[in-house]
Amino acid sequence: MIENNTPATCENNLLVVENLSVIIRNSREKLIRNLHFSISQGEIFGLVGESGSGKSLTATVILGMISKSLEVTSGSVKLGQSEITSLSERELRNIRGKEIAYLSQNYQSFFTPFIKVGQQFIEIIRCHTDISRKEAKKVAIHWLNKVHLPAERVFNSFPDELSGGQLQRASIASAIMFQPRLIIADEPTTALDVLTGERILDLLSELKEELNCSILLISHDLKHIINRTQTVGVMYGGQIVEIGKTSAVLSNPIHPYTNLLLQSRLRLNKHIQHELPTMLGEPGSMAEEGCPFSKRCPSVMKSCSNIVPMSSLGSHHSAACHLMNAEREERYVTR
C-alpha cells in the first residue's frame, strides 16, 4: 500500500488544500481535520456530505472569510502561486471576486432590495476597475447576456421583480465578470426548482468551458455530484473520507460512508425499490478519535479508533478506511 500520495503539487493544479485543520477557538472542537485535496484546471470538483460535515466551512476558508470565533490551526490553501491563509485582508479582497467567485444558496440576499440590479453591477465593476459608468454598463450588459438573461430588462429591474432563477443567473453574472479562475458554488440549486436548478448547472458548465476556470461544487444532492463532477470528495465529520475520479468512486466506493450514502439515496429507477438501505445513527454524530464515521459504521473494527491514513486505490482514487487493508472476511464483522 502506498500511503498519503494524493498528488498535491502537480503542475495543472489550480487550488491546493493541504493538511488544513480548523477549530472553534473557545471549545477547541475540531471542525475540519487534516483536509487534503486539490482542484485541477478546468474541472468541476464536487464536495459532498451531510449537514455539519464541514463542506461549507471549507469554502469559507478558501475564500479567507473564516469567522473570528474559528481558528485555522494548521495547513495551507494555495491558489496558483498565492498562499491564501497568509494573505492580508486587503490582498484577500483583491482575490475574492477577481480570482475566486462565490455563489451561494441565498441568491435572494445577494442583491440589495431597493437598488436596481444594474446600479449594483456598475458599483461592483467600478470597485475593481477604473472605468466610466457608461463603460461599466456595457460590461454589465455583456455579462448579463452571457448568462442568458434579457440583459436590458434585468439591468433596469429591482431584485424583487425577478424570479429565483433569474436572480441566481444575475448573481452568477456578477460572480464571473472578472473572469475568475475558480468558482465556488455552495449549494447553488437548493433553493430552486428542479428544472431551474438543472438549467443553472447547465449554465455553470457552459461558462466553465468558456472561461476555462474550475468549479468547486458543494452539494448534498448526490444527483448533481454524479451528473456534473469529474472529481469528488466525500466529507464526513470535517474529514475527506474518500476522494477520486467521480466514476471510480461511484463504481467502487470503498469507505462504508460513501457506500451507504450512495445506497440510501433516492434515485429514479425503472426497478422500484421496496425499502431504502439506511445508515444507523444521526448525521453529525462522529467519533472523537480515528475514523469519524466509526460510531455509525456497520463494519467497524478495533483499529478504527486509530487515525486512518489515506490509502490510494489506483492513481485516481483514495480513501481513509482500514477496510482497504483488511481481509475481506473481516469486512463484515458487525458490532
Partner: protein, 283 residues
C-alpha cells in the same frame, strides 16, 4: 456538528454571571421589596404625626433625614410611602396585564372583524395623549388613588393587547398551530397551550419596563394633586408637598425624587436586561 443553543428561559438566569444589568436590577429590586414589606414595622416615627415645633428640622438621631414642613419624619414617610407607591404600581400593572393579555390573545387569534373593531377602539384611545387623558379621567371621577388607578389602566391595557396580538398573529400561521388544528384542538386550547407560552417572556419584559413608567405617572399625577390625598405618604404627593419650600429646603423634594429615581432605574435595568436576553432581534 450539533450546536445547541442554550435556552435562556430554562436556566435560572439570576444564578449565572451573565448579565450585569439584570444582576444590578435584581439586587435593587430585592432591596426595594424588602423595604416595602418590612419597612412600616421598623420606621422610627409615625409618618402621619405632625409636630409643628420641629418643622423643617435637619437630620438627627430621631429624624434620620430630617422633617418636612409639617414636622413629619421624612425617612418614615418615604419608607411607608414606598408601600402605597409600589403597591399601587404593582396593582396597576397586574390589572393591565390581566385585561390586556386575554384580549390580545383572542383578537389576535380570531382576527377578522373582531380584531378590526378592537384595534380601532384602541387607536381612538391612543389618539389622545396618555397623560392628558389620565388627568381628564381623574378630574372627572374626582381625585383619589382608586380613580388614578382606573385612569392609568384605561390607557395602558392597549399596549399589552398590541404586543400580545402581534405575537399571536405571527405565531398563528406557523405549522405547529395548523398541526394542532388538524389534530382537533379547539381554538381555546390552541390559545391556552400554544399561544400563551409564546407571549410570557415578552410580556414580562414589557411589564418590568412599564413598572418604572407607571411609578412616574402615579407620582406625576399625585404631584398634580390628582392621586394620593394628604396626609397619606406617597412619593409623588411628597414631591408636591415640598414644592413651596424648594428654595429654602430642597431636601423635601430631593429625597422622594431620589427614591423614585432608584426604583425606576432598578426596574428599567431589569427590564432591559430581560429584553436583551429574550429578544433575539435587539441584539
Amino acid at each position: 456538528m450539533n450546536i445547541q443553543m442554550p435556552r435562556i428561559n430554562r436556566i435560572p438566569f439570576f444564578f449565572k454571571n451573565q448579565n450585569l444589568l439584570i444582576q444590578w436590577g435584581i439586587i435593587f429590586f430585592l432591596i426595594i421589596t424588602l423595604i416595602t414589606l418590612i419597612g412600616p414595622f421598623i420606621v422610627p416615627n409615625d409618618p402621619l404625626t405632625a409636630n409643628m415645633s420641629e418643622r423643617l428640622a435637619p437630620p438627627s438621631s430621631t429624624y434620620p433625614l430630617g422633617t418636612d414642613h409639617m414636622g413629619r419624619c421624612i425617612f418614615s414617610r418615604l419608607i411607608v410611602g414606598a408601600q402605597s407607591t409600589l403597591g399601587i404600581t404593582a396593582l396597576v400593572v397586574a390589572t393591565v396585564a390581566i385585561i390586556g393579555i386575554p384580549i390580545g390573545l383572542v383578537i389576535g387569534y380570531i382576527g377578522g372583524r373582531l380584531d378590526t373593531v378592537f384595534m380601532r377602539v384602541a387607536d381612538g384611545i391612543l389618539a389622545l395623549p396618555e397623560f392628558i387623558l389620565a388627568i381628564a379621567i381623574a378630574g372627572f371621577l374626582g381625585p383619589s388613588l382608586t380613580n388614578l388607578m382606573i385612569s392609568i389602566v384605561f390607557v395602558k391595557w392597549i399596549a399589552y393587547t398590541r404586543v400580545v396580538r402581534s405575537i399571536v398573529i405571527t405565531e398563528r400561521n406557523k405549522d405547529y398551530v395548523q398541526a394542532a388544528k388538524v389534530g382537533g384542538s379547539s381554538s381555546w386550547k390552541i390559545i391556552r397551550r400554544h399561544m400563551f407560552p409564546q407571549i410570557v417572556s415578552p410580556v414580562l419584559v414589557l411589564a418590568t419596563l412599564d413598572i418604572g413608567k407607571v411609578i412616574l405617572t402615579i407620582s406625576s399625577l399625585s404631584y398634580l394633586g390628582l392621586g394620593a390625598q394628604p396626609p397619606a405618604p406617597e412619593w409623588g404627593a411628597m414631591l408636591n408637598d415640598g414644592r413651596p419650600y424648594f428654595q429654602s429646603a430642597p431636601e423635601l423634594m430631593i429625597y422622594p425624587g431620589l427614591a423614585i429615581f432608584f426604583v425606576v432605574l432598578a426596574f428599567n435595568l431589569m427590564g432591559e436586561g430581560l429584553r436583551d436576553k429574550w429578544d433575539v432581534k435587539s441584539r
